[in-house]
């Protein structure tokens, strides 16, 4: 059994006008230990709803999510002991300083305070935030907050890590630091689910990628296999500015555009 199994997950919302909207429809995928699985899709594709169902925050309309073999909706407290989450929004607890925040969060996973303090020190060091450990969240820059939020997701030493756009708004240098840390976690055996808008990030980090649009997964495979399957090997012509045409090998963004018809952001662009 893989650490994360999403099986025939569907989620239907009631809309304000009394109707209903199927945000996620029959989505299935596994994430194995030591694997990074990317979920790519435009805004409104169903990525965040899928994540809310995986974390057990939203109940699914049908289907199931198993964390370490446990149904997260039937046994949320036991299942979520192995889960680390970095939400898309900033959800840091602004009533605490950086260090205290990690220690407090660790107690939610029954990590003893002394051990929580040891882990918090190590994580702040690892994320380049050691000098900011006594700072209030409000005093941190956007990039630091993002790093702290990823650090907080790791405080319980999770075996399943769910990251929703963890590098949005980070400068390229910090983004690479974060990539390095995620690869280290994958190397330790964590199953990572990564939602991202950045194609280069997905190509670089993910062993497999699922492309989702309108609540459905359109295809799943390794980035290379997806590129080969949907784009072949022929070079792609791209008009980068009027009159200037570049020829380059096909990439994941081309696959994405072909499957969804929606343009995503490239490296370094803001959302």
């Amino acid at each position: 059994m893989p650490p994360l199994r999403v099986s025939r997950l569907s989620k239907r919302y009631r809309t304000r006008d009394g109707g209903s909207l199927e945000a996620v429809s029959d989505v299935s995928f596994d994430v194995s230990a030591g694997e990074c699985f990317g979920l790519l899709g435009p805004n409104g594709a169903g990525k965040s709803t899928t994540i809310h169902c995986i974390t057990g925050f939203y109940p699914p309309t049908s289907g199931e999510v198993l964390l370490g073999g446990l149904d997260v909706h039937r046994e949320p407290k036991r299942a979520r002991r192995i889960l680390g989450v970095c939400a898309q929004d900033e959800t840091l607890d602004s009533d605490f300083r950086a260090f205290d925040q990690l220690v407090r969060y660790a107690t939610f996973f029954r990590v003893p305070v002394k051990e929580g303090e040891r882990r918090a020190r190590a994580l702040l060091e690892r994320f380049g935030l050691a000098e900011k450990s006594a700072e209030q969240v409000e005093a941190l820059s956007g990039g630091m907050k993002r790093r702290l939020q990823v650090a907080r997701a790791l405080i319980s030493q999770p075996t399943v890590l769910v990251l929703d756009e963890p590098t949005t708004g980070l400068d390229p240098e910090v983004r690479r630091v974060l990539w390095q840390i995620l690869m280290e976690e994958r190397g330790k055996g964590a199953a990572i689910l990564l939602c991202t808008h950045y194609m280069d990030e997905a190509e670089r980090l993910c062993d497999r990628v699922g492309i989702i649009a309108k609540g459905r997964i359109l295809d799943v495979d390794s980035p290379q296999a997806l590129i080969l399957r949907h784009m072949g090997t022929a070079e792609v012509e791209e008009e980068v500015r009027p009159g200037a045409i570049w020829r380059r090998p096909p990439n994941l963004e081309d696959v994405y555009l072909k499957l969804t018809g929606t343009r995503l952001h490239g490296a370094g662009e803001s959302q």
Binding site: F57, E75, P76, K77, V85, D89, T91, F96, F108
Partner: protein, 258 residues
Amino acid sequence: MSVLDSLWGVRCVWLRYFDVFRKSIRYYLVTSFTEPILYLLSFGLGVGALVGNMEVHGMQVSYRSFVFAGIIGQTVLFQGFYEASFGAFVRMYYQKIFSSMAVTPITLSEVLWGELLWDASKAAVAAEAVTLIGVAMGDFRPLALLSVPPVAFLSSLLFAAFGLAVAARARSIEEISYPQYLVVFPMFLFCGVFYPIESLPGWLQGVAWALPLTSVVSIVRTLTLGFPFEPLAAPILAAWLLVLVAFSRRAMSGRLVK
């Protein structure tokens, strides 16, 4: 999911609030205790000196003692409501604390219980401070120090539940002002905090008794001043408590979870 496991989750949330309180204790002491103490001084000593003694339910009592007991009711109302309405709205909407805790081994239900119990604890401690002043000044029976806290805690839980329900329904933080001015302030002014509700017209007495603060103030005056026990007060309070706690938790879950 065992009951002990759930209690552990609620305790975690409560301790998170206590930790914040402990780290900012000066701020909380000022904001929690200043208001009731100012009311005590202003109405108890100021207006009390003007009014002197009065007869209520056939008992002679000083206005100062009468209003001191009323201010315990005012304290649980204001502290319970404000912490759970404005405070919870900030925690839910801006800080996103509820949703960040509820993806750990703590469930949303436990998060909401922790929120309500913390709000009630904090308000009950402020009410106990007022009781202590009343006892120290010879206005209350000493036994009130033991008998008031459970009532103050349950009453605070009731008003905190009302505040949480308001936070769950408010689309913006400004919208919390509607129930503040249309429900909380009228309760404060018409539920017997400053004068016996028997002095109100009959129809308004009926309205006042339908509101929970009248029952709170009535029970507190029984415990602190030995006023006759009003048999309807406890069931009214219990009914409001059950309805508001259930409704607030449902409303907040509905707001957060699709």
